[in-house]
Symmetry: C2
Subunit: 285 residues, 2 copies
């Protein structure tokens, strides 16, 4: 998808939040706001929103000297989600349709996001919403049917903390079809609270999938920025699970066999998907 002028206030809001997380120096924070404001007039609206977000966070990094403002927040999110893992697992395996409930949990886990909205730290309410909120854009039956014949699945991760919920879904994918070879992709370097290799290892995702870096530090999967290895995996996958709004924003126009799992976080994406903000989306491209 392209960028809309409605995205501009969101970039500014994200810059402020990241600048405050990166430094307590108000003069430097102001400098970040000014620099981000200065690039607004040159922003190409034909770019994907995460490409512009990448530019914004690069400014935060350069002016504050802090490459990973949400480092502690991410670590804490992993730990908290891990502590809930046994309970999540029990809910999933004791349900009538563990694969469906694992999908719902994975989508609810996408609430853990510091990009377009503030972090949803109350994991209990995330679990409650996973179980009570119905999926919209519900292509679950088609997804389930394709999984039965899938051999190579690429799972594009999104945020730290959330990846514990993803691990739960990966386990159910393998439970449903133990012939699937699953690769889980993370970002190459810290950006917002997106999961990187360290996060995947911290939550033991390597026990159930092959972990790869996508080669890019965008908060998304921008194919022209991905490594050749990542592109080969992308192109040879039977099915791709893309988690989160950033992956949707970067891949919605790609001609590939993708199922998007996300919590819708803004009215721009809500309008494109014809859903409401906050809705749980499972949409086959």
């Amino acid at each position: 998808m392209r960028t809309y002028i409605d995205c501009i206030p969101c970039f500014i809001t994200q810059a402020l939040r990241a600048a405050k997380a990166a430094t307590n120096d108000e003069i430097v924070q102001r400098r970040v706001m000014n620099s981000v404001a200065e690039v607004i007039p040159d922003l190409p609206l034909e770019a994907r929103p995460p490409e512009i977000a990448q530019r914004v966070y690069k400014i935060v990094h350069e002016l504050t000297g802090n490459a990973d403002p949400y480092r502690e927040v991410k670590s804490q999110a992993n730990e908290t989600a891990l502590s809930l893992y046994p309970r999540l697992k029990e809910i999933v395996v004791s349900s009538d349709d563990p694969l469906l409930v694992a999908c719902k949990m994975a989508i609810a886990g996408n609430s853990i996001d510091l990009g377009p909205q503030v972090l949803h730290t109350d994991l209990d309410s995330i679990i409650d919403s996973a179980l009570s909120v119905p999926l919209v854009c519900d292509d679950y039956q088609q997804f389930r049917a394709e999984l039965a014949n899938c051999t190579r699945l690429l799972y594009l991760g999104d945020n730290a903390g959330e990846i514990v919920f993803d691990k739960l879904l990966v386990e159910q994918l393998l439970q449903y079809n133990n012939h699937i070879d699953i690769t889980f992709a993370v970002r190459e370097a810290p950006i917002i609270n997106d999961a990187i290799m360290d996060d995947a290892l911290a939550v033991g995702l390597d026990e159930v999938a092959t972990i790869v870096s996508n080669g890019s530090d965008a908060p998304a999967t921008i194919l022209p920025q991905c490594s050749p290895e990542m592109l080969e995996i992308f192109n040879s996958a039977d099915l791709i699970i893309a988690k989160g709004q950033g992956n949707y924003e970067s891949l919605s126009d790609e001609d590939a066999n993708i199922v998007f799992l996300l919590k819708c976080k803004c009215h721009v994406v809500a309008d494109l998907l014809d859903v409401g903000v906050g809705d749980a989306v499972l949409r086959k491209r």
Copy 2:
């Protein structure tokens, strides 16, 4: 109060909303966003927030050619609120403390705002919240005591629609002390959805108070911008009622006998007042 960098995303959001209300031309909307972004680096944070908002809305006016993007919205808000007036009045006069309930209603009416947040069009829920939400920063008893001895009261209005709720309070002020001479001030020219002379006349505020323009088109009461007539009224008033967050932002540092009535609309003002966003505030300066 001064401006904080936290106000910057809000100015950008307001610019987008106003640009969209002012024109359907997306190129012009983008031009507004760019021009507002361009002034960010030069914004003096020592200025009061409504001074900067005034500059933002001036850009919207100049680039779109539309001096009053919310004209219809304001007119509709006046009409809807007027249609509720008999019911509001009945609730107030039949209560144990009509003056208190009228204060609560007037504060709840401050929800009708297109500045820091979107318009609250559901007047039923405004009335419900007026009756159910307690006042915080509750200086009501002191306010009531001062009213008993007041002869010249200046009431600084805020928004269209809201002024119907203000009329209700003005009536109760006179009911409580019929020796008070009340002057009601409106903005000189359209800005956001702030009430101007036409709005005051449309809802019959002139039946209960003397209406004056403050001489400025800021969404607030910026004394250096006010007319000599307005300043004389301001300086000779025993007591000043300042409605809304804009009037708070512009007058919180003035050495005058002011009671602020407002719905708190952002975390910056919430922190300064030590209240929560959405709280109903009656604060004596």
